[in-house]
């Protein structure tokens, strides 16, 4: 794994069990657009920033299709809550809880995330 982290900028960190895992520079995140991060156990996270600079991270795999693409979806606000719409079949996921907004029986993992 090539870790491209040299700047002293703020870093985006994900909570994995007890550790905070560093994902990238905060400046890399474009508001309203996601990035994918590879986690040490091989899982993938989709990391987002909204226009107010709040950060979110959920599992990157779209549970409806199996493809690791949630980071490439469009984000938005639905009744005050942030969501991402899968770029494949367009189901929306709440970015804070991972809950699918179009099928109450489905949810993806949500990670705690901070800039530090």
């Amino acid at each position: 794994m090539t870790l491209t982290l040299e700047t002293t900028d703020l870093k985006v960190r994900l909570r994995l069990a007890d550790d905070w895992f560093t994902v990238c520079d905060l400046s890399v995140l474009l508001p309203g657009r996601g990035v994918a991060a590879l986690l040490p156990d091989g899982r993938q996270a989709a990391v987002f920033a909204d226009r107010n600079g709040r950060l979110y991270a959920i599992d990157n795999r779209d549970p409806f299709t199996g493809a690791a693409v949630l980071s490439r979806g469009l984000t938005g606000t639905h009744q005050g809550r942030p969501f991402v719409a899968s770029p494949l079949l367009k189901q929306r996921f709440d970015l804070e809880s991972g809950q699918c907004l179009d099928d109450e029986t489905v949810r993806v993992t949500a990670y705690e995330v901070k800039a530090a």
Partner: protein, 865 residues
Amino acid sequence: MSTDTPTIVLIGHGMVGQRFLEALAERGLTATHRVVVLCEEPRPAYDRVQLTSYFSGRTPEDLSMTDPAFIEEHGIELHVGDPAESVDREARTVTARSGLVVGYDVLVLATGSYPFVPPVPNKDAEGCFVYRTIEDLLAIEEYARKSTTGAVVGGGLLGLEAAGALKGLGLTSHIVEFAPRLMPVQVDEGGGAALLRTIEEMGLTVHTGVGTQEIVVGEDGAVTGMKLSDGSELSTDLVVFSAGVRPRDQLARDCGLTVGERGGIAVDEQCRTVADPHVFAIGECALAADGRVYGLVAPGYEQAETAAATIAADEASFTGADLSTKLKLLGVDVASFGDAHGTAEDCLDVVYSDSRSGLYKKLVIGRDGTLLGGILVGDAEAYGTLKAFTGSVPPVSPESLVLPAGAGAPVQLGPSALPDDAIICSCNNVRKGTIREAVTEHRCTTVPEVKKCTKAGTTCGSCVKVLGQLINAELEASGVEVDKGLCACFSQTREELYEIVLALRITSFRDLLDRHGREAARGGDGCEVCKPTVGSIIASLAPTIGAGTHVLDGEQAALQDTNDHFLANLQKNGSYSVVPRIPGGEIAPEKLIVIGEIARDFGLYTKITGGQRIDMFGARVEQLPSIWARLVDAGFESGHAYGKSLRTVKSCVGQTWCRYGVQDSVRMAIDLELRYRGLRSPHKLKSAVSGCQRECAEAQSKDFGVIATANGWNLYVGGNGGATPRHADLLAQDLSDAELIRLIDRFLMFYIRTADRLERTSTWLERIPGGLDHVRDVVVHDSLGICDELEALMAAHVAHYRDEWAETINDPEKLARFVSFVNAPDTPDPVVAFVPERDQMKPDLPLLNIGLRPADEILEGSATR
């Protein structure tokens, strides 16, 4: 042998069985009774009516009608894959294959039917199938892989569906029907003839009036053909029997219940078996009190409700049902309702028939003008309305109801004219009044809400259109303003937003949202509907309003749909396809070689598209820049296959080579494609240019199509292929090159300005007030005085066009997004993998299988916010 709580045992978990369980639950019987279900198939109840949609991509999971939560909540004991083997009526027990013995107080048989297979020699040979269950489909699909021809025995409703499915699987398909016409039960001779013509045009071969005498097998015992009653032999690799169904009443026979002469478990009007008050039979296995076995789902549902009501000691009865059906067979609408064959005394027929276009409509009218029934083939738009009027005298003349729009009197009899007790959804027996109440009393405002509330529209779906009309009419009548806004963030339509962006020169989405969005949405992030829509408006107007002209410039990048964001088309496993532009479909050998080399070097799957160019599939996101660096180097540009923008301008070879050609269609196609490339629009734009009236380029199926004449060009607009094909309308004739281009400039810009999001020119043309005549007035006669502006907008687009990919590969900031992982840019996504197929490769689909996670299962590592 009953325990304390009385037990209801249901044998058969098909569509009717499931409805019976729901009816039990609705009446509270699942709380007072133990309910045990024996289900023979390896999966719980699914939508058999939609079975064929499996071949158009619906998965067995999509077809399921059983919500595990429902079963669990109501404490239903569902034994999947465990059929009942015997019933002991004296001891009141049922024994299942697994050895399970269950005592019952009430037994309900809902065992459905089995497909009838005529007793011809070798009927069980390898390669012979029936068409009833998901397992049947899986087996057919598997066998079809090694077959080239398939034959269906039986030209009824199911036979046609099966034949369509075989055709969809890529087989040459035959239909063998003993009767002299197709669908003998539902349609009459005239309808059969219209159907036959349309079906043959689709490339299926129909043999009517002949029977199957023998299945011919090869040395290995597998099917090689069939012998027909006229002495001929048909060679085929696969046979599907679809010669009708028979009630599955064996279990009932074995335990001494009364069955009819031609099968079916005899029941009374309460659906109780005539022989034993503890036993009920419902659905296709039952011989109803009116002496008929119903092979449709709607009567079965009614029986399920009747049985449940009777068990709850409510009054209900099933005395018979009407056999109206509307189907889309192989894309052809076929409907019959009421007394379709005109058996009533003294009735009269009103017939409209146009076999050229495969239309046949017949209404059966009584002496006093009462509508008794009818048959519709080719166009069943009016089915919902007509069926609801059956039994009454319609408020307009019957002729006007069957004539096609434009011929004589095109009467649009809306559903609002219907009485309240007209049945709108016949599958679920929902009256118009119930739907109105859903809107007025239960505050439903959308089709999905009404579906949930009333069950209407949840089975075959043929009533959904009428549902939508009723809901809107009801909302409007009750003074609710139907919100025409784009989405939850904007109350304006796309057209209004376009005008705002243009007039106020707004170049930023946030600006637009914060100043013009709905109150609650201001300051937010927008949504997946408005972001790309506004992104597209800004892109269409970019040079004029002074926005960046690259779709990935600044904030614009965050608005784009995911395909535009990566300038490539996302595929199901997360890889991308790459489509370079090949203007007019003309390509020099050197460039073909370059495409071949690139595809080879990057290991991509290549395919000639339906748009006269080449698609390379399977590129990983991090490979896109290097692939495009080579393409750009060889002189290729983006093909915008990912954009809501100009796709292709197809051409025929035209005057230069073709003996009939009257103009240089290839040159014109190239000119048009280069002129309009990169133009962002409400939906994709397609075009074609044909060199003469023979129309080899299919220009009349395009958004703007051009056909050469001896004097110049004819311009057609509003054509569409796809799901709802539409022939284009002639906008202007015999145009010079310059006139042609000027008209197309104006037409496109007027469309971009006024269309809704994702509205192709075809639907736009049908929707806008005044239709084609209005558009012609505006763009040909300049009735609004805006043509100069429209032309100027297009001129600005053409002048500022630059290739998106060439710019992207030279811009490190834009390139930064093309990585697999932000923290491991070169590590390929492990889910994107490929396996070989037919000398190329395809996505490794099993790798994608992760299964859905239930919402309440808190997963390891998940945040507890």
